[in-house]
Amino acid sequence: MKHRITYFLHDPSEFDISQIEVKSDALSVDSLDAAKEHRITLGLSELPPELRRALSECYELHLRWTRPTPYYHVSPLLSRSSSGMHLFYTPQLGSSQNFFCSAFKQIFGDDLKCINPATTFTNVSILSERFATGASQQYHTMLSSLAELITYLSHKVCKGRDYACIKQMQSLSSAAYLDIDYDTISHALTFTAFWDSAPSSHGWTDKHSQLGPTHQTEVGILNSETPTEPEELKLGGFLTVIGEDDHPSPTLFAFPSRHQPLPQSSELDYRTAFRDPTGLHPVLQLIFPSSQLESPGESCALHTYLTLPSYLFIDKYQLSDPLFLASQNLVALHSIAGETDLEAPDWIIKTWGSAALLELSTSISTSASADEELTVSIPLHLRYLSPSNATLGQIQVPVPWPIVFWACVADEGTKMNVNPFDRVNLGYDGLFGPRTMFYHVPTAPTKILVQHVRVPILNLDDAQYVEIGTVFAIALGSLWVLWKLLRVWTGGYHENVSKKTQ
């Protein structure tokens, strides 16, 4: 087991070295105002049996969970992912795939839509063959909290007794995101949790102990420095390996980063909305302040990556006409993967949904510049949802805010993977080449990064007469036509006609 704990100071000027205390077997921090990343690397033998069994079916697995409420993005952890849980998965060749979903549901919640990976997961579209790290299958669910995972871990890992352990697990409830990574080559499972700030207003007061001779624990207290190269990020601060170092060792290092902030001068952000009325064809809008739409580089293009639950879908054929795309301020639909059936109702869809990458237009027409906002419209379509009782003929369904970024090409020879805080397998990164940099556009201030759309559904309480009514109508109509036919057959109309003509 290995722990790597990194604090990213919010305000270095308020930091004092006395806030760190290093002992021979422990490190304590006191009231540290910082974001925190905690990475735990586990060997397979350290895992509960059902997890081992489920992982034996995986070739690689990358789980990315992001909370629905916005959080503060700190350098170098600048990547973004839409809220909910994303899974990127490559099955082990020849394995049965029988245990994955049951273990997954046991850990994250019984009501998740997961039959088995072959049925529920969708294939990732491969646009860039050169990008070797991409998983082959994808899954997403609107999981808004990790409560089930915390219960599972408290029970399985802490055995329900170890109070310190339970407390540590419960700290996950305030995490901004959680990554879980596994691959057969390293045979290790990595948990990475991130908190944008301490749950209490007094900052972090933690004690990290050396857990045993085979367990390494490294603690870093870092802050972001101004980089010298445009593609790089720079960090300075202190690193300590508990049990090895008797004092924090100062450090300063720089590395190229795949994920980048917008230039400091930029005030670009975006918000989302559904155009009213939504009907069965809701239009998702991304709204930008048009004056801020300035590209961070020459090779850059503005993109959005959408994750759509199964009840919403994109019609790729509708998004193929350049005139139509331009009228929506779109450039192109570069990729669509997952459930794209244009007709099926939601109740027969077995996959989780679909993911799409769209390029956005940043050219501001003269008429739009007047209202100072650029609205990009993404036409979506709703599937029919199951009829139900006890609704007033409509329900609200959630869709996570898509993420928006400028994708730019980095210089030849840039090695992104030397970044110790690199984050890959986010869905969209696999759709670009390995030398792509993502300048993430922040979201406008909002309470929650989930948009709801109203879906009309058939209210069964209103429909009690439908079955009997339809049968009655069909019977009545059939009998009427039969009666007319009978009269023809018996010559009834001929007599009528001859009587009249007489």
Partner: protein, 444 residues
């Protein structure tokens, strides 16, 4: 309307109307994000493009037609706006040809009969009724937007023409082709088979009736033998052979995909999306109830009533209407069959209206709807009112997101169904009254 009394004028106008719509459509497509071209046409042309690149046309999602259609539209895969529109030109020409066949049938000579040899109409009257199709803006719009229904309509009218002209082999081939293109024309098989008896073969009305009476007196074997006359056997063999040959060839070329998308899909589809069918809401409820295993939702009805829906539909359209009406007036019987098939179908969209519209010019001349204008106008008003009601409910659902499923949509769908049943009753009665308006005598 002296303007519409000359066939030359009407056909020129019909062609001109389609040409204008084609040009207008090309312009709208080029300059507006809202397309004139029908979504289906993009499906056909995408499929043709896949074909041109050596792929299966079924590579295109929602292509549910015979590969023959994609082959027919092969030129649309060539570059340029003209070639792209060539399929629409074909569809438009097809529906003008359908109009010409309607006119020819109404004239009663297949275009070449001697004056007075049949019950044909005079030129002016015939062209006026044919104008119902030829100058119908809905028809012209549907074909110029690129819907393939025009192709089917010319096929079906040609089938009628061939039967009336006693070209039973040609008729068989046309029926086989029509069923291959779209399944529903199989219903015409029944009425044509029944129609092709000795009476219509000999062209003598009274003799036919006597023979029929004689046939009843003799044993059942003789009855079967009399029924299996040469025309019927030829027609059946040519129809079956054409259908099997075409479908067999397509199955050999495209395998499971062809069978699945062209035929099985139509048998297994759920048809849950709102449409004009009276069954629509019921199907919506039952399909979701049977899909969800959860016991808390709607309890499944003991018998799946909707699976019995084919009984009234097929009983009327393939058995009773042909048997009782076909020998009186084949063209109007085919109208009644189509009307019954569409009215009692589990799914119904506005393109289906074209299927019976093509037969309207044969029926209307002797219908009470024209003889009694007040009745005709009431029927038309009710039909339009029910449509408007349904469309308004559909709009509320589709665009405003209001749940009109079980309330407005169901009621308006049922109302529309009853209007259709009413019309069907009138058509049946009219055929019963009218008799053999379009039975041609054999040329001497």
């Amino acid at each position: 309307m002296p303007l519409l009394s000359s066939p030359r004028t009407v056909f020129t106008l019909a062609l001109l109307l389609r040409l204008v719509l084609l040009l207008y459509g090309t312009l709208q497509d080029a300059f507006s994000p809202l397309k004139y071209t029908d979504i289906d046409y993009y499906v056909f042309t995408d499929a043709a493009r896949f074909l041109a690149h050596g792929h299966s046309p079924y590579t295109r999602d929602t292509y549910r037609y015979t590969p023959l259609l994609a082959w027919l539209l092969y030129p649309t895969s060539w570059p340029g706006a003209f070639w792209f529109a060539s399929g629409k030109v074909l569809f438009a020409l097809c529906d003008v040809l359908a109009g010409w066949l309607i006119y020819a049938i109404l004239r009663g000579g297949g275009g070449g009969s001697r004056e007075g040899s049949g019950n044909g109409m005079d030129e002016t009257r015939a062209i006026r009724f044919a104008s119902l199709w030829l100058l119908n803006p809905m028809v012209a719009q549907i074909s110029t937007r690129g819907s393939s229904e025009g192709l089917l309509c010319v096929n079906v009218v040609a089938l009628l023409w061939a039967v009336l002209a006693r070209r039973t082999r040609v008729a068989g081939v046309l029926l086989g082709l029509a069923v291959h293109l779209k399944i529903y024309p199989f219903i015409y098989g029944a009425s044509i088979l029944w129609y092709l008896d000795e009476r219509t073969t000999s062209g003598d009305n009274s003799a036919g009736k006597e023979k029929k009476k004689k046939g009843q007196k003799t044993g059942p074997m003789t009855g079967v033998l009399t029924f299996c006359n040469r025309a019927r056997i030829e027609f059946a063999i040519y129809a079956a052979a054409t259908f099997l040959l075409l479908s067999g060839a397509m199955a050999a070329l495209y395998g499971r995909e062809f069978v699945q998308h062209t035929y099985l899909y139509h048998l297994t589809r759920i048809d849950h999306r709102h449409n004009f069918s009276p069954y629509n809401t019921l199907l919506h409820i039952t399909s979701s109830a049977s899909a969800s295993a959860s016991p808390t939702t709607h309890s499944k009805p003991p018998i799946r009533l909707e699976s019995l829906a084919f009984i009234p539909q097929l009983l009327l359209s393939t058995l009773l209407i042909p048997l009782i009406l076909a020998k009186r007036d084949l063209a109007s019987t085919m109208l009644a069959q189509t009307f019954a098939f569409v009215t009692f179908n589990k799914v119904c969209t506005s393109q289906y209206f074209l299927w019976y519209l093509v037969f309207l010019p044969f029926y209307l001349p002797r219908s009470t709807l024209l003889a009694r204008p007040r009745l005709g106008l009431s029927v038309a008003a009710c039909w339009v009112a029910a449509q408007v009601w349904w469309l308004q409910q559909g709009y509320q659902l589709e665009f405003l997101g209001r749940s009109t499923f079980a309330t407005g949509l169901w009621w308006s769908g049922i109302a529309f169904y009853f209007v259709n049943v009413w019309v069907l009753g009138i058509v049946v009665a009219d055929i019963g009254r009218g008799g053999a308006v379009l039975t041609w005598k054999q040329k001497e």
